[in-house]
Amino acid sequence: MSPTDSPDPLLHVDGLSIGFETGRGPVQVVDAVRFAVRRGEAVALVGESGCGKSVTAKSILGLLPAPPARVSGSVRFDGQELVGAADRALRRIRGARVGFVFQDPMTALNPVYRVGEQIAERLRRHGGLDRKAAAQRAVELLGQVGIPAAAERSRAWPHELSGGMRQRVVIAIALACDPDLVIADEPTTALDVTVQAQIMRLLREAQRARRMGLLLITHDLGLVARYVDRVVVMYAGQVVEQAPVEALFDGARHPYTRGLLQAVPGAVAPRADGRLWSIPGAVPAPADFPASCRFADRCPRAADDCRATPIPISDAGERQWRCLHPHVDETAEAGT
């Protein structure tokens, strides 16, 4: 059974479309996106810049200002419909049941409050703790996210901390009220690789220990391989493939996913001439998205039918792909 059909996924996004009013008229940037995140599952939303990952993530909890954004479709969180829900209901869910971690920790922290106070504030407002209990719990949380000398550091200002420490504070805030879901949009892109490993490990461990859902938005396939269970690949505003992580890396069906995986240095052997595999051309701009396959101009398998009609999603259990001529599963074909 595919995750989107399972009876009660924690987060169920279906037919989500997002457009923007621009000076030159409306453009549709996200088109009928459908995926789910189950409890205790880490899912990556991957794709290249501008493919619509971030606006999808933001729209889930009403964080896209509308106008200019226009959001339609359905986002159900724990059974509750969020598209069109009242602001108050959304705010309550955002504070307590869903935590956020964004790329730049400084945008999530208030520069004029000490970091401990910012965690305590969340605990008082959404967790019902009193001042003293909240302050104490804030220190505990800082310790849990790996901040040494937590009691002392809880009195630090955000600007006194390094980038990695700040991102740990943001994670502590995200985890404060024991959320069911954490949405992390490029949480380590601004950090060094040794610190990135620490932060991802921390998120993944918290996700497992608390049986939370984790939606990781990233363009980094190395992180995807190492830290999630399932992958949703987006291209030009559409989901083009979904699969469990090993299945995806072992045998991607969509030519774009294949191309992307091959283009990562170190992922596959380079070409015989020592060069990298690359995908020719560039992603079309949203205003130029064709009604048929959006990858056709760059696709080595493109045929006439790819340019004729919209491409439907094919579905086989845990795997989905949007392609008329997908790569078949070579290992299965070979009968091994």
Partner: protein
């Protein structure tokens, strides 16, 4: 053969807060040979970009020696050598949007080094621009457009065309593909490799993406807090890293392989501030092997018989590795 660029004990300092000194580059020996790619890697703030610029004397050195094409370029007598340096070297930057003048057409930007060095007339420069655009995979008719009309990958190709305008011997590329998407990045990396094969260019390739460096570089220098801690051929550095920091760095970079997912994070802590570098070996607060002498004495960069250099008290250079 004389190296193209040669630094000895090179230092670059920046003024820090309250009169403090940031030792961004703190005594580096480095040579760049004709036709090679030397990768320069390390975490943010380790000084790799500063060192890259300093090698072209785009940062004033606070100490040490620097020579280009065999001639000193620090002493006053080096003015002519400095002019040669400007003509025979070029840079490619991380953010092509920031490095190209938004008011100039890309054709004007590419021709600018020719104008500055008074090469050719208007017509020959236009021909050269067209030829360069084609060489980097763009069509000559885009010469009239301004940067905002291009994607990041296209604009980086424009930046490369501009760097090639004077047919340089050395290109310092500072994170040239870090801002690009994977699928676009691969094409630009290939272009850089093709250009080297064609023209015998030497690259000083500054990057934090180790996989790209492994592919493109012949030799690699690893920096930590203003110093080179390991320098070896790409094969030796990636195949048998010796310095504890290099090993940690390689282990931390996620491999795109879901079966290797539970590798523990290799390193605790973060790089310390260059304002207040630790005594002895600057890596000791994060090093799993640190012992007393690491806290007291700074290890020198020593080479083994094969020329693999490493700055660590505990690495023995003579015995074969277990």
């Amino acid at each position: 053969m004389t190296p193209l660029l040669e630094a000895e004990g090179l230092k670059v300092h920046y003024p820090g807060p309250r009169g403090a000194v940031v030792r961004a580059v703190d005594g580096v020996d480095l040579v760049l040979h004709a036709g090679e790619t030397l990768g320069l890697v390390g975490e943010s703030g380790c000084g790799k970009s500063t060192l890259g610029r300093a090698m072209l004397r785009l940062e004033p050195p606070a100490g040490g020696r620097l020579a280009a094409f065999g001639e000193d370029i620090i002493e006053r007598s080096g003015r002519k050598a400095l002019a040669t340096l400007r003509r025979r070297t070029a840079m490619i930057f991380q953010d092509p949007h920031a490095s190209l003048d938004p008011r100039m057409t890309v054709g004007q930007s590419i021709a600018e080094p020719l104008v500055v060095h008074k090469v050719g007339d208007r017509a020959s420069r236009a021909r050269r621009v067209a030829e360069l655009l084609e060489r980097v995979g763009l069509t000559p008719d885009v010469a009239d457009r301004r940067p905002h009309a291009f994607s990041g990958g296209q604009l980086q190709r424009v930046g490369i065309a501009r760097a090639l305008a004077l047919d340089p011997d050395v290109v310092v590329a500072d994170e040239p593909v870090s801002a690009l998407d994977v699928s676009v990045q691969a094409g630009v990396v290939n272009l850089l490799m093709d250009l080297q094969a064609e023209r015998g260019l030497a690259y000083l390739f500054v990057a934090h993406d180790l996989k790209v460096v492994e592919l493109i570089a012949h030799r690699v220098a690893v920096m930590y807090l203003g110093r080179v801690v390991e320098l070896a051929s790409s094969a030796a550095l990636f195949g048998a890293p010796k310095h504890p920091y290099t090993r940690a760095l390689l282990a931390a970079a996620p491999t795109p392989d879901p079966r290797r997912r539970d590798d523990p994070p290799a390193l605790a802590g973060e790089p310390p501030s260059p304002l207040d570098p630790p005594h002895g070996c600057a890596f000791h607060p994060r090093c799993p092997l640190a012992e007393d002498r690491c806290r007291a004495d700074r290890p020198a960069l020593r080479a083994d018989a094969a020329g693999h250099r490493v700055a660590c008290h505990l690495v023995s250079l003579d015995e074969p590795r277990a």
